[in-house]
């Protein structure tokens, strides 16, 4: 049997080109017909789309597997079935992701108006109000976290790539790995523990949130910068040394400019990562319905916390709160997308000439 099927492969006895597509269409039509019949016969209350798709897919895999095995042999048949399974995995994963983006866009658009971007939630009960205080809070807290993280992260990466040798560099690398795995809520607890020891247990302010976010952001910045610095060819450094340029000037004038596009991309992506953090801010930055421009005093709401509280603390007119939550989510997603897009563009524009 095996010998025969091997022979089939070698002889190249194959199914016609459109075989897979034809079978796919046939299976889906057959499956849809079955489910339509079930619906018409009142067995199921309505036409079950999900059921039809699942049965159609299984039917396709079985048909392709069996027919291909009979005509083309065992190995070709496994190949075809696995291609189907892998494509199916991709399609299955698309369902929740598309649903997520589509729902956020569809429900978020309800309150995506001028009022949302021009007013806070101060004294608002029920409909109306907006997320301006949360947007300002997000910009301030994320900005502060970036100002703390980027210099520390880039300098650490420079140390690791250009200077680091021996035990200190090894332990820093290890600790960066550990930091990457810190759950965000633990970062929030740390910031709380730190500031509560200094200012008392009731402390809630924006800068605490920024410290917690830096803890999450620094390892991402270090990692991406490290990768980028490692990509800088050693010849460039050696050429610079050969001209008698000091090491620190070589780093500042040669290594960093060569890697700058990648570094900025990494920073943007790390900002996109932390801008959606909720848990640490819930703990240390607290809740507020009013505008607050001061990082160092009073509670400060950010967009993710705004979304969370709009959902969890609903007033009498629940739909108004849920609408605001979706709009907050939509604004967040748009910000994240924009950051990613800008990162890509910067990477394109600043990429060193001739290396592409």
């Amino acid at each position: 049997m095996t010998l025969m099927s091997e022979a089939a492969v070698i002889q190249g006895r194959t199914l016609p080109r459109g075989f897979a597509w034809t079978t796919l269409v046939a299976s889906i039509v057959a499956s849809a017909a079955i489910f339509l019949a079930l619906a018409l016969a009142q067995v199921t209350p309505e036409f079950n789309v999900a059921g039809a798709a699942v049965v159609g897919a299984i039917l396709y895999l079985v048909l392709v597997g069996v027919i291909s095995r009979l005509v083309e042999g065992r190995r070709k048949s496994i190949d075809r079935v696995m291609a189907g399974v892998i494509t199916a995995a991709f399609l299955i994963a698309l369902i929740p992701l598309i649903s997520l983006v589509a729902t956020t866009a569809a429900d978020g658009i309800n309150r995506f108006d001028m009022q949302f971007f021009s007013s806070s939630m101060r004294n608002v009960v029920g409909a109306g109000g907006g997320g301006l205080h949360a947007i300002i809070g997000t910009l301030l807290v994320t900005g502060a976290a970036t100002i703390i993280s980027v210099p520390v992260g880039i300098m650490t990466a420079i140390y690791l790539v250009e200077y680091g040798k021996g035990r200190l560099a090894k332990s820093i690398t290890f600790l960066i790995d550990v930091m990457t795995g810190i759950p965000s809520i633990v970062a929030g607890l740390f910031a709380f523990a730190l500031f509560a020891l200094v200012f008392g247990p009731g402390i809630r302010f924006g800068i605490g949130g920024a410290v917690a976010l830096s803890l999450l952001m620094i390892p991402v910045v270090v990692r991406s910068t490290e990768e980028m610095l490692k990509l800088v060819p050693n010849e460039l450094r050696e050429a610079s040394f050969a001209l008698g340029v000091p090491k620190w000037l070589t780093i500042v004038k040669v290594v960093l400019p060569t890697a700058i596009a990648g570094i900025i991309t990494g920073v943007m992506i790390s900002i996109a990562r932390i801008i959606g953090e909720t848990a640490p801010l819930l703990i240390i930055a607290g809740l507020s319905t009013s505008m607050n421009y001061d990082l160092f005093s009073e509670r400060m709401t950010t967009l993710p916390v705004f979304v969370y509280t709009q959902y969890t603390i609903q007033g009498a007119d629940a739909q108004a709160y849920i609408d605001r939550a979706w709009t907050g989510a939509l604004v967040l997603i748009i910000i994240v997308l924009l950051l990613n897009l800008i990162a890509r563009i910067i990477a394109r524009v600043l990429a060193p000439k001739g290396s592409r």
Partner: protein, 307 residues
């Protein structure tokens, strides 16, 4: 390379600054450990009466939370891992070339969607959508312990949470796996093709063995995120402090992170200390997972032909 030049002032300052940044990270992490322990200590040594947590001690309070954390993360990984490897293979080796880059970009973007949005979607879209399925499962395969009834009326069960977590960690695992699969040496693949291998055989013989360390590290990263994920769980799950394997009931074991997020705003006095102590436990768990991942990856690296 390092010629013995005389040390310049600029060099010394710059090196000191770089090293200082590195040391700052050491100090920061030490501070995390020290402050958390300092704040957790009162709860660890307090007597049951003082803790007034249903009159129980701290230590009996933690195991259900640990169980919930690990159980939810494990279920999420169970869903996410096969799918993620499938998607990564699809993008790297099956999808048409022109489509592949766009798909990879889309996956990268999805990794950046904030967890609170996943939470909102989980509770407002997913939970109502899966309720009929849960009822069907309980009615038809309820004899199987995992699907034991009575079914939850809201769909806010640990299974829903696991699906949301799986969707969240899917892009992370996929992105890393794809990177690794794309790095498979073309010579390995071409050699397999030249021997007459089919596409699946190329994947099985060249791509997957080469990417094994990468898959493991991606899995561990996903696991770490699932373990520490707070908002999606806090929003979707209807929580209780129990140990139960049942997937579809309205009583679900909650996770450490979600428990902290839900209880912290109202906590006072020793309650805060107890929550911080559970946070310390979570920190320890994720630390162990990450350390294990590191050991596995470092060991595999020597054999995989990478580097």
């Amino acid at each position: 390379m390092t010629a013995r030049a005389k040390a310049r002032l600029g060099d010394r300052v710059f090196q000191a600054a770089a090293m200082g940044a590195g040391l700052l990270i050491l100090v920061a992490l030490a501070a995390v450990a020290i402050f958390l322990i300092a704040k957790a200590m009162p709860a660890l040594v307090a007597s049951p009466e003082e803790l007034k947590r249903d009159g129980t001690d701290f230590w009996p309070y933690v195991p259900p939370l640990i169980f919930g954390t690990v159980w939810a993360a494990f279920l999420a990984l169970l869903f996410a891992l096969p799918l993620a490897v499938g998607i990564a293979l699809f993008i790297s080796h099956y999808a048409p070339r022109k489509l592949a880059q766009g798909l990879g970009y889309a996956i990268d973007l999805l990794a950046a969607i904030p967890s609170v949005v996943y939470g909102l979607w989980g509770i407002l879209v997913l939970a109502p959508a899966v309720r009929p399925l849960y009822e069907w499962l309980v009615n038809n395969v309820g004899w199987f312990p995992l699907f034991a009834g009575p079914v939850s009326g809201t769909g806010r069960t640990v299974l829903t949470v696991a699906v949301v977590l799986a969707v969240m960690i899917l892009p992370i695992i996929t992105a890393l796996c794809r990177e690794v699969f794309l790095q498979t040496p073309p010579l390995h693949e071409e050699a397999a093709l030249a021997l007459g291998a089919t596409r699946w055989e190329v994947v099985k013989m060249a791509v997957l063995p080469f990417g094994r360390a990468g898959i493991i590290s991606a899995t561990m990263l996903g696991l770490g995120r699932a373990l520490g994920e707070t908002m999606a769980v806090a929003m979707v799950l209807s929580p209780s402090i129990i140990i139960s394997f049942a997937l579809l009931q309205s009583q679900n074991p909650t996770t450490i992170a979600a428990n902290i997020a839900l209880k912290f705003p109202e906590a006072t006095g020793l309650g805060i200390n107890a929550l911080i102590a559970t946070g310390l436990v979570l920190f320890a768990i994720t630390f162990v997972v990450n350390a294990l991942a590191r050991v596995v990856i470092n060991r595999r690296k020597e054999f995989s032909g990478a580097n």
